[in-house]
Symmetry: D2
Subunit: 338 residues, 4 copies
């Protein structure tokens, strides 16, 4: 932690800060320049998180030096984590994991039909929503527990790993019983009650980045899950909110490489939500693989016109199959496989 | 709903859309221009929310005409709502409601001490957190149920209305038993499980705007609460996330007047979170009142240096008292009182 | 300047940095903590602006300590600057300066008519555009030199100070000959050729904040003008670009107080561009005065329906007159006058 | 153009709008729904750009239907434009054009040395700045005319096409005499005087997207250049400003595919400015190619530690050479070549 003092700070101010920080077990290093005096604090920076040094007399600003996360950091684990999703289906290794499926589960037959097609195209994981976070209280809210059973049945029938969203801490146990991966949506990235609950679950967690979350906050949310005992966290970049209105969100392609530098956790890209328009999904999916993503999550629907949710960003099975072939070539070009 | 067709759209495309929308009970009005054909749909627009018209063949874009909210809209209630917070303490009328207090409840004595001072300064509501949403799992998470009891006791002792945050749907009943107003924090503005639960509670809900929520989304979240039965919703602008880093958030002062145009609900301003720096709180609090806000929420702490949370944005009681006097003059200048 | 080293940085890396910085005349202070080694550099930080320390081996990040601006800083001038606009019309003192007028000069009679009305309402400065920056090449681009002559004539006729935009370095001399204040629009805040030219002019410069400029960048642009010899710079907050679409821009009310802390220069608020909708102008104008702005710039048009530019955000003279009376009350409430 | 009326709009309001728009030669189509009356206008929408329909009595909002640009639109030119940069060096065809070089020209020898290395790595265009837009007036501003001569000489010596920035309308002729491509920087995307001048030049224009420009505004700026007579416009996505601070900008990878849908002009990606950190450049460059970009612009410096500008985002020649080989594989995977 670095403390920059105001030009008019007094010796008394300095002494006051040094006493306070010494009491917390930190060593201080004072540099007196012409324009400013600066205090560098050496020792456990987290002790300072509850001390608002900004309001100490004479303080101009406080600059943290260390990242606030630990368990997610690549500093404590140099090699990337490989997470087992189900059986021999993993994410974080050479093979890129593609999760595909409809936004919402609309019925058993429809789900099975799509599942078979995405499997035929080379997918090993099926994603479909039973609990749907909807901006409007008047929109379709998902089939709930009934939908979960359909998902589990289709997973068993096809051998695909299953991925579905959990929105309420009271549902974590139920969802964990039926699905292989617990998805946390963008709106719940800082739902701390929910993060704690999935931290206690024994299934991998797919943690989507919040629509306006910094990468640091996103990693801190992963830290919540890990600090509660669940180390199987998969990150997913799904677009951030910017001023641009041509696309539903702005997919932050930089984030893929930043996360790889900072953390050992696998990171996916969601080109469906990241763009919001099916005509852009292919281009951005390929970009995600080229940038180094460990996985993709793509919406596929037999008949987007009739989809109960997010039809405008869903690919048809034929489009998805063609895309998978292109993705395989891009993956190979960067030393990966699909 | 307006549907703009692509230049290359065919008559078949038009017929297909007309059949589909007629089946939903909508009347259509087709305008054929040189550059584009446009279809205007007349009738209940909400029926179209589950139909992704964007993916119909020949469609270029879809433009909704009506706002998606109803109960919160000023169209269905011309005069502003006045909400009773406790006894004769209200918000939405001529008198501006100021809620003040520490970010977190740290103990009974500390809370009572601050409560007495803010009351002496002219406040009628005490705000203090028992459950704290914290970015880091290693930060202080609040005193929980123990804190709620302290808050209720201090409310009784001083006669102040009490306001506190609820973060988990499982805690709504407990919090509603102890506090007069249920605060929903910015991170939970789209926690739909929580919105539904507070919609069933019988206490007013203070709904903070999400850090990157549009005004429309914010009003839709209020609609969730109202649609679940609780019509006592108070909106609170607390700053949005932008590129600017000098302040913790950017308080959207425009939003005050926009909400007043669109909705009958009262709207508050939170200059403490909206700026994140105590040196800016006074300036922005006065701006909020001048802009037409119905209330303010301000952090006050006896000793910000020792605050367990958000000390850098807390006013000392003396600063708060001086500010209240300035605010009273500004309120009067715009035909209100404090 | 603080240099944070990577955990794996070697002694050789440290020596290399110390040699380089010593050669620039800086003293270094090395703190060796458990997690990181940190180097604090004491001395003229601006010497380091051309040395990319980030790429030195072993460096994790570089954190500047001092603000990069000098002449605009309140550190070198404690009291606020009062700038003479014309005769005894000033900005930065107790009296708040209101500039009003049409977006574009459309003709002499129209300009004179509006000028007389805003003067009658209590205004002392007339703002109107002769050169218009327009997003589309097909939109009206302003009357140019002809318009400048009309503006000068109306200024002389009414005694109002005149304010108009200059967009091209080749026009600075011409505009400075006809107008009292040179306005630099948001799009030109980092047009460095233009900043240098107006820096050589002998008329005050009204520098609007860029639509996505940080406060620091805005102050750096003011520094350009001052460093080129013109110390009469007036800052103007006119809204920044965010994700919100209900308003054309988001007026950053926090910026008023931030600028007052950082700089001695006067700061204005432009509620017309800051909101983009005439129904919101009054609310935000009052907020600007309450927040401590030294001036306002407001669009007024006799007949907004017929305005050639920005009609949707213009007040009619009657609305403006009523607003001026409200503003006078708010100004008085915060110890100012209009 | 669609006009949505307020619920309380009168027949008189409707008549007034119809008279006004009929006078402009537009046909109107009135739909009377239960909640709203809507007027669709058919005919040349650009006539309405100077009529602020928002302020007509009874109007709630106005929604444009057509894009405001024409010459840049893919609607008027279905196949993509291929632009000749110099001799047989083109952009927009199967071959991806990579421009590389130092941020600033620091001297002849240094420039020649880098030029030879990037050529050896497979580049056909050299980019280097003679006029540098710098945030601070105290930073190095470029070698100016002297630098241009060096660039021209190195271009002749190596056969590389040369690309350099022009910042001032007064310099367009000079720069066009020395360089093969005129670069317009992000800060000048809406410098309309400069756009008009390069529109008169006879060299291709590389138009960078503004840091907070929407795609529509970016295309409108290209329209300015084309409307002034220069049809050789190359677009370049170089990152937009968001709330994220880990990277200097957020490269908008979605924009590549959006531009390809909307316009026939070639589009490049600048991973150096788009990320601001050399460790991220390779990942994002590959993503750009995979997403369908027609070109890349990459900063390369022999010795980034000593670079006079932007050293932190420059690759060393060895890194660049390795990246070019990876890029060639990705290009091939998506049916292109480098």
């Amino acid at each position: 932690m670095i403390i920059v003092l105001k030009p008019e700070a007094t010796e008394e101010n300095v002494t006051h800060i040094l006493e306070k920080t010494a009491a917390l077990g930190l060593r201080a290093n004072v540099s007196r320049g012409v324009a400013r005096t600066i205090i560098g604090l050496i020792g456990p920076e987290d002790k300072l998180q509850v001390v608002p040094l900004e309001v100490f007399p004479g303080v101009e600003k406080v600059m943290p030096v260390l990242a606030p996360y630990k368990l997610v950091s690549r500093e404590i684990r140099k090699e990337g984590s490989v997470i087992t999703v189900k059986g021999d289906i993993t994410i974080g290794g050479k093979k890129i994991l593609v999760m595909a499926g409809p936004c919402a589960i609309e019925g058993y037959d429809m789900l099975l039909s799509i599942a078979r097609k995405v499997k035929a195209a080379g997918c090993t994981a099926l994603r479909a929503g039973a609990f749907k976070p909807r901006t409007s209280p008047y929109d379709f809210q998902g089939l709930g527990a009934e939908g979960l059973k359909m998902l589990a049945a289709v997973g068993q029938e096809t051998g695909l790993a299953t991925v579905t969203e959990v929105m309420d801490p009271r549902d974590v146990e139920l969802v964990a019983r039926h699905a292989d991966v617990l998805q946390l949506g963008a709106r719940n990235m800082q739902n701390f009650s929910l993060l704690k609950e999935v931290g206690k679950a024994r299934k991998p967690v797919l943690l989507k980045r919040g629509i306006s979350a910094t990468i640091k906050e996103w990693l801190m949310s992963a830290e919540y899950v890990m600090a509660n005992g669940n180390h199987d966290v998969i990150l997913c970049e799904r677009g951030i909110r910017t001023f641009e209105t041509e696309t539903r969100n702005t997919l932050d392609i930089n984030a893929v490489a930043v996360v790889k530098l900072k953390s050992h956790l696998p990171v996916m890209v969601d080109p469906s939500h990241g763009t919001g328009r099916c005509a852009l999904v292919g281009s951005v999916a390929k970009a995600g693989v080229a940038a180094g993503a460990d996985g993709l999550i793509i919406e596929v629907h037999d008949n987007p016109e009739e989809a109960w949710s997010d039809g405008e960003q869903s690919l048809r099975p034929g489009q998805f199959e063609a895309l998978m072939q292109e993705l395989a070539r891009v993956a190979q070009a960067v030393g990966r496989e699909i």
